[in-house]
Amino acid sequence: MKISIIDYGAGNLPSVERALAKLGAETQLATEAAHISSAKAIVLPGVGHFSAFVNGLRERNLVEPLRKAFDEGVPILGICLGLQAMFETSEEAPGERGLGFLSGEVRALPSNVKSPHIGWNQLRQLQSGVLLEGVPVDAFFYFAHSFAAPAETAPTSAACDHGMAFAAVVERRNLFAVQFHPEKSGEAGAQVLRNFVEAVQ
């Protein structure tokens, strides 16, 4: 069985595919429900706008299959906007519904800091988890986002600070999510992906 990478019509999927392939993982692009129900794990990468993302999923009839897989315990890794889409709503798209795997709202970064938050930042580990195993505590990860989930609203295993404490790594049972781009975060990012791949073997 393969790891399905959700293709919602935008986003830089090749770099996620390539990063997983380097770790020896077999992947397929999921553009329809069958690609989700046959997956042993799912990666939900995303860049751009919250509403374009959830609309892209909806137009391809991928929302219900994703929800079903999540309920059945299939491991899911959300990346960047993929993390944000797991919440109920986002300030970026008022009135739009997210996947709702996590309760709470994604917020805009405060106006007293530069936004987008672009560049390499460090994490504050709050609890031990799978994704950061073997990752040095002072490792840097590449972020590129203007919205984020406040750390206290999520099962946050590591937070990052940029005007507010936000969820950088989220883990709960079969749900995994990172606000940074592991596929663009050098060795540290590769280790995070390796931990996910090993956890779902």
Partner: protein, 254 residues
């Protein structure tokens, strides 16, 4: 825990080779893009910028092929641009494997290009490049690689571009470019305080102190340079060690 200041090598690409313009001499070959990119990736570069300086259709195709080839070997972000005039051209660059697209001349001629790119790909994927010359007490934006004056005030233009969705400003001082006299810290500080997005300073880098100054005095979020890295005048690792010792937050490669 702080957002690290970024060090970004810039690669000018013509006909599939990295080149550097030299005054009165034309273009000098600096090497293979993939080889240089792999070296910078290894040495701890935080990001790479690829600029297409070829002017022909044939050249554009070769550029996309170069991006594809280079992206294979990178696990850091890649920004690409040079002569991008439409959303379709932006999409082609992103599809080829770039994470961000940079626009300059075409955005001045048609500012809607910024809005279109930002709506489609997100502000984090749109880098506005501004080439600037000092003009009395203010700064003027130039187009076509610094050849044409526009009469547009750089600070005003930067603000407008950000309101249209530019997620970063790549700011080049034409006065300093190629002079090795250091970044224009005054210009950088002016633009950095005028906009809410990160500013990448460019033009004039020569010594380690120049980088320290542009972060400390210029409040740059990132610093970009080309020849000093291509010619191995400085290694990125040594530069970052220097900045770290001077308490500038940088990502040290292990």
């Amino acid at each position: 825990m702080t957002l690290a200041r970024r060090i970004i090598p810039c690669l000018d690409v013509d006909a599939g080779r990295v080149v550097k313009g030299v005054e009165f001499e034309g273009l000098r070959d600096m090497g293979d893009p993939a080889e240089l990119a792999a070296r910078y990736n290894r040495e701890g570069a935080d990001e790479l910028v690829f600029l297409d300086i070829s002017a022909t259709h044939q050249g554009r195709e070769t550029f996309l092929e170069t991006i594809r080839r280079v992206a294979q070997h990178l696990n850091i972000p890649l920004t690409a641009g040079g002569g991008i005039r439409s959303m379709e051209q932006g999409r082609a660059v992103l599809r080829a494997g770039a994470d961000k697209v940079t626009v300059n001349t075409a955005a001045i001629k048609r500012p809607d290009l910024i809005s279109e790119l930002a709506q489609q790909f997100g502000a984090q994927a749109v880098v506005l490049s501004i080439d600037v010359k000092r003009s009395g007490t203010s700064w003027e934006a130039y187009t076509r690689g610094g050849r044409d004056a526009t009469g547009i005030d750089a600070e005003k233009w930067a603000r407008e571009a950000v309101s249209r969705g530019a997620g970063e400003i790549l700011l080049t001082s034409i006065d300093r470019d190629g002079t090795c006299t250091g970044f224009d810290c005054e210009l950088t500080a002016t633009i950095a305080s005028a906009v809410s997005v990160p500013v990448i300073a460019s033009g004039g880098a020569s010594t380690f102190d120049d980088f320290f100054d542009v972060f400390e005095k210029g409040h740059a979020d990132a610093a970009l340079a080309a020849s000093i890295f291509h010619q191995e005048t400085h290694s990125i690792g040594a530069l970052k060690d220097f900045l770290h010792r001077r308490h500038v937050p940088v990502r040290l490669s292990k």
